[in-house]
Symmetry: C2
């Protein structure tokens, strides 16, 4: 006797199949967080692409803490591959994995010192694009507003900065950037009202960044996160500055309310197939 439609409703146990075939159809994904629109979008793209090839996403959110541990746990679950937006600052851990033959693709951020597959926007090009955007509109003293408190800015921000500066340098226009470590404000002012939401935090950070200046020593702002750009717009407007007539503001690939550089999403799929899944 044969299948006979397998008792009219048989569904194979993919777990057992996975064990036997040593291929689970699972792809582990590690992202720092999905509250920001950027990773949410990327994740949505990844899920779509994987669904199309009948794979499933095993999602973990590292929240800047447990990246390695989570990666290990995904490997324990025998994922067929890993997609990681890493916050790691050394190549050792992932080098070990690569040496083990683990299929590994990084997204958004490069791991310093590691030579591996990476899918990310061209931050340099994006920075240059936005620089041109501002220059074309006649802005002459743009500010470059980042929000990191690391000793060195992370690579992608550095790249945007270089791209951005290249435009204003080539045109020999005055540029007045400040790469303020604006989160510092909060640490140095425990007395300030504690920001409850990210929007409030942005505003507090802005206040801190602008405190040393008289008025607004710029006519445009390139904010490294669009959420931050929105806060800036709000801040400027609340000080009676018209946007974008008096001060232009651009952000970067994080949010869909502001100017943006690239979609960065459609490129996700390619390397997955490339890597052989």
């Amino acid at each position: 006797m044969l299948d006979i439609a397998e008792e009219a409703g048989y569904r194979p146990n993919r777990l057992a199949r996975g064990l036997r075939r040593a291929r689970t159809g699972l792809i582990g994904v590690v992202v720092p967080g999905i509250e920001g629109q950027f990773y949410a979008r990327v994740l949505e793209g990844i899920e779509k692409a994987l669904q199309d090839v009948d794979h499933r996403v095993l999602l973990t959110v590292s929240r800047g803490e447990q990246e390695h541990e989570l990666v290990e746990s995904l490997l324990d679950m025998q994922v067929d591959g890993l997609i990681v937006a890493s916050e790691d600052d050394g190549p050792e851990f992932y080098e070990t994995l690569l040496a083990r033959g683990v299929p590994l693709v990084f997204i958004d951020r490069e791991v310093p010192g590691l030579h591996a597959d990476l899918v990310a926007t061209d931050h340099f090009a994006g920075g240059a694009l936005l620089g041109e955007h501002l220059r074309e509109r006649g802005f002459r003293k743009p500010a470059f507003l980042s929000m990191t408190d690391r000793p060195r800015p992370i690579g992608c921000i550095e790249d945007r900065w270089c791209g951005f500066r290249s435009v204003y340098r080539n045109a020999s226009l005055l540029h007045h950037p400040f790469m303020g470590s604006v989160k510092r404000y909060l640490r140095e002012r425990p007395d300030a009202p504690k920001p409850e939401t990210f929007s409030e935090l942005c505003l507090a950070a802005l206040r801190g960044a602008l405190e040393p200046f008289q008025g607004f020593p710029f006519d445009a702002v390139f904010a490294q996160y669009d959420h931050f750009a929105l806060a800036m717009i709000h801040f400027l407007r609340s000080h009676g500055i018209r946007v974008p007539e008096e001060v232009g503001v651009v952000g970067f690939d994080d949010h869909d309310f502001t100017e943006y550089a690239e979609p960065s999403l459609t490129t996700i799929r390619q390397p997955l197939l490339e890597i052989g899944l």
Copy 2:
């Protein structure tokens, strides 16, 4: 001889363990999409809660199409439970699963006709809260702006509407709601410029909704999605209306730039433990 630290770096195969113990530590999650901030947040909350109890999220995005199929595929993977934001409009499918004993929790939306565990914001209370917010600020002719094109509005919107109306009815204030099926605009106007982004779509929808009116026959707007509320604010401002001085705008639990009703996130964890994982 014993473990001897199990060859100094042994990691059990969770797949095999899952097969043997009939418990994988996987929870299947089905959401319609994660580009909107709402489900992204909920997902982040779910992932956190599950991480805390050493479970993993098997994520699928239904995109309004393949809900049942995705659920089946998650069950094939032997998930220990399912968390579903269902767009189903009948109880049959999930009744079968419940009868099978599948641990099932619904989030955000109730499945019509189905009696099952549900975690969601209290939309009635939220609607009432926002109604009071507007009433306290002296707005007398609020508009209730939904964006559905279904024959009947989905339950949660209906609930918000009832909660909202209860406030304005009790106070015997004039109310001027319109539940416009605003997406229609796009279908009826193929000549209009095709919106590329969701923001543009919102604007187009707004134009459609307001077309029948002269000016603005309301002094406040309760938008059902915060993204939509932002579009409204933009729209009003571009017509020279001051917000919120002339027209007040509130949205609902979707976005962190506007007023909001509840967090809706912290409640996610409870029923997961409740259901026994």
